[in-house]
């Protein structure tokens, strides 16, 4: 079922057993799990089915820390959420990403990678990618041309990525959701406050507003916030009528530990010797490549060097064209143009809109690849989302992002490149040249500093309520009937794009709720 909340009478109460706030990858993944059950599900989406600039403006906020992408451009506020413009890159987190690492403060998940394996396999079907196989050798058996570099796996290894079509949740799953008898989707229903009982130990309802001034309420037995990393924190912090610091924020953790993946050009690889022609494993052609590898740091080397997890993509170098970070190459204007083009609107093409143009035909020794590093950011309590004094059109305080980095983030880049340079030299693959800023020993960041729009960590998971906002089952500590879905629960960021993992975690949460609220 679907209702446009703007058509409802003012003051209407919406009731269900389970209420999911946000219809992006996490919210839709959970809602689909309940279709056909006896549970009545409310799915509240702030935007509509299509892009709406007025709804998008509700995501506008301030960046006061390290330079960051405009917040209203980094996420889509509509049914399907940011899958409306994601690139479809999927990979699992590594086992070490879940472990406490003494050299990475605040690291460690209360669950192990093995816990997520069955959910990763299910998530594969949701995002429409291939078999749940991430060993390079498995892909080489499927395609003999996918030959990994002969790297010492104790140092570096070939980590596989798989590519979703990409699945646009807003179009792919709209029919299923709207057609479900027990799932009621309300669009243009912006939740502005989580209301609790006197002790803030249980949610009693949600206050909803529409841009035309209507106020609605939702009431359910259990609630799931799935509004994205920044908006989950914003909503909890703004819900301060009873809990003055915000719901779930008894220990001043909500909004903290905001993390990104650094996605930055960091050097070049020039191939030498016999391996010059064996690069199919690492190549990517938009819309065609189903799986490919990146060169990643081994867990053993992360432990030995006390460094963060990282991988590197090989991108054929184009003479005269300086490589750019993800933020530099996909500006908000280009992102908007891509979105319009996908909707069938006529848009002037940009040369770099065609990633396959980057696939060169040069072969043999001397072939050059730009190296785009994808590195995790260390958890940092000072990197945080807070509320601004300015309010949006619905009266909610806007979000302020203070993106802050640590010396470990910076130091790990150089360590990674030293390992990479040594290992590709030892193996006869080639030689590495670091960009100036990587080679330098200072703490500064270059103008190419940027991420991949991978927002993580503002409602982190930890067994101890003093160290995390949610527990191992994604339930908010101290609040009996409130859970959180999405990358905001990640205690650490790994180096894999977050979507596959957040879908897997959402499926796990859904299974847990089926037991908990049945």
């Amino acid at each position: 079922m679907h209702t446009d909340a703007r058509t409802l009478e003012d003051g209407r109460l919406l009731e269900a057993d389970l209420c999911i706030v946000g219809a992006g990858a996490a919210g839709i993944s959970i809602a689909r799990e309940w279709i056909g059950t006896n549970t009545r599900v409310l799915l509240l989406e702030g935007g509509g089915f299509d892009y709406d600039a007025r709804m998008q403006d509700l995501y506008r906020g301030k960046n006061v820390g390290q330079p960051y992408y405009p917040l209203q451009a980094a996420r889509l506020h509509q049914f399907g959420g940011t899958t409306g413009h994601w690139a479809g890159w999927c990979a699992t987190f590594d086992a070490i990403d879940f472990e406490p690492r003494p050299w990475v403060p605040h690291s460690g998940w209360p669950i192990a990678r093995a816990t997520l394996d069955p959910f990763y396999a299910r998530a594969h079907r949701v995002v429409e990618i291939g078999p749940y196989e991430y060993e390079a050798a498995q892909w080489q058996r499927r395609n003999a041309s996918l030959v990994p570099f002969p790297l010492d796996p104790r140092v570096l290894w070939t980590k596989m990525w798989q590519f979703s079509p990409p699945t646009r949740f807003g179009t792919r799953y709209r029919g299923e959701i709207v057609g479900a008898r027990n799932v009621h989707l309300f669009t243009y229903a912006n939740v502005c406050e989580v209301e609790t009982n006197e002790s803030a130990s249980a949610v009693t309802g949600l206050r909803i507003r529409t841009l035309d001034g209507k106020q609605l309420r939702a009431r359910a037995r259990h609630y799931v916030l799935a509004c994205s990393t920044i908006q989950n924190a914003r909503l909890l912090l703004a819900s301060n009528a009873r809990a003055t610091a915000g719901v779930g924020n008894a220990h001043d953790l909500v909004g903290r530990y905001f993390m990104e993946h650094f996605e930055m050009p960091s050097g070049q690889l020039v191939l030498t010797g016999d391996h010059a022609a064996s690069t199919a494993m690492y190549e990517f052609v938009w819309g065609k490549t189903k799986a490919r590898g990146e060169i990643a740091t081994s867990a053993a080397m992360q432990r030995r060097q006390r460094m963060l997890n990282a991988t590197v993509s090989l991108i054929p170098a184009v003479p005269g064209e300086a490589p750019k970070s993800t933020f530099q190459s996909i500006t908000p204007e280009r992102l908007e143009a891509r979105r319009r083009a996908e909707r069938g609107e006529r848009v002037e093409p940009s040369p770099s809109d065609a990633p396959q143009a980057r696939a060169d035909t040069a072969q043999g020794p001397g072939r050059v690849f730009d190296l785009l590093t994808r590195q995790e950011q260390a958890p940092n309590p000072a990197s945080r989302v807070t509320l601004d004094r300015e309010r949006d059109a619905l009266g909610m305080p806007r979000a302020t992002l203070d993106w802050q980095l640590t010396p470990l983030d910076r130091h790990s880049f150089r360590l990674f490149y030293e390992l990479l340079g040594r290992e590709v030299g030892r193996s006869g693959v080639g030689r590495v040249r670091m960009n100036d800023w990587v080679a330098s020993h200072d703490e500064s960041w270059p103008p190419s500093l940027g991420g991949g729009w991978h927002h993580m960590g503002t409602t982190r998971m930890h067994a101890d309520p003093k160290q995390g906002v949610v527990d191992a089952n994604c339930r908010v500590h101290g609040v009996a009937n409130l859970s959180i879905a999405g990358a905001s629960v990640y205690p650490t960021a790994g180096c894999a794009n977050p979507t596959l993992t957040l879908v897997a975690l959402s499926l796990r949460l859904s299974d847990h709720l089926k037991t908990a609220i049945a």
Partner: protein, 120 residues
């Protein structure tokens, strides 16, 4: 060497037929082979020359043809292996040096330096 130079490695430079010569390293009858790093094939002579000059500036004690020649011969004799094996062994053992942001084996950095002196 800037990025443009780096990428402008021409077919002519790649065609420099030095690979075979450098693998016959221990031969005293081929003194100039010491100054012919395998990197020439991948990077070309201009880039290798630039690296060599930068190395000599970075390690002033190696800014001399005779010193470089003697050091390279000594390394090869001690290693009892080919140049390629020696370079790989350098990388494996961490005997590397960063020259103009390139991560190089110490042996090949010296070869680049000798090349820059021989081909100046």
């Amino acid at each position: 060497m800037d990025r443009r130079q780096f990428l402008s490695i021409s077919a002519a430079s790649a065609a420099i037929a030095i690979t075979g010569a450098t693998r016959a390293y221990g031969s005293a009858s081929m003194p100039h082979a010491l100054g012919q790093p395998d990197l020439l094939v991948a990077l070309g002579p201009d880039a290798v020359r630039e690296i060599g000059r930068a190395y000599r500036a970075l390690v002033p004690s190696d800014n001399d043809r005779a010193t470089l020649d003697a050091a390279l011969r000594a390394e090869l004799r001690a290693a009892h292996s080919s140049n390629e094996d020696l370079v790989r062994a350098d990388f494996a053992a961490g005997r590397t040096i960063v020259v103009r942001d390139w991560i190089l084996s110490r042996t090949e950095a010296r070869q680049c330096a000798l090349f820059s002196l021989l081909s100046a």
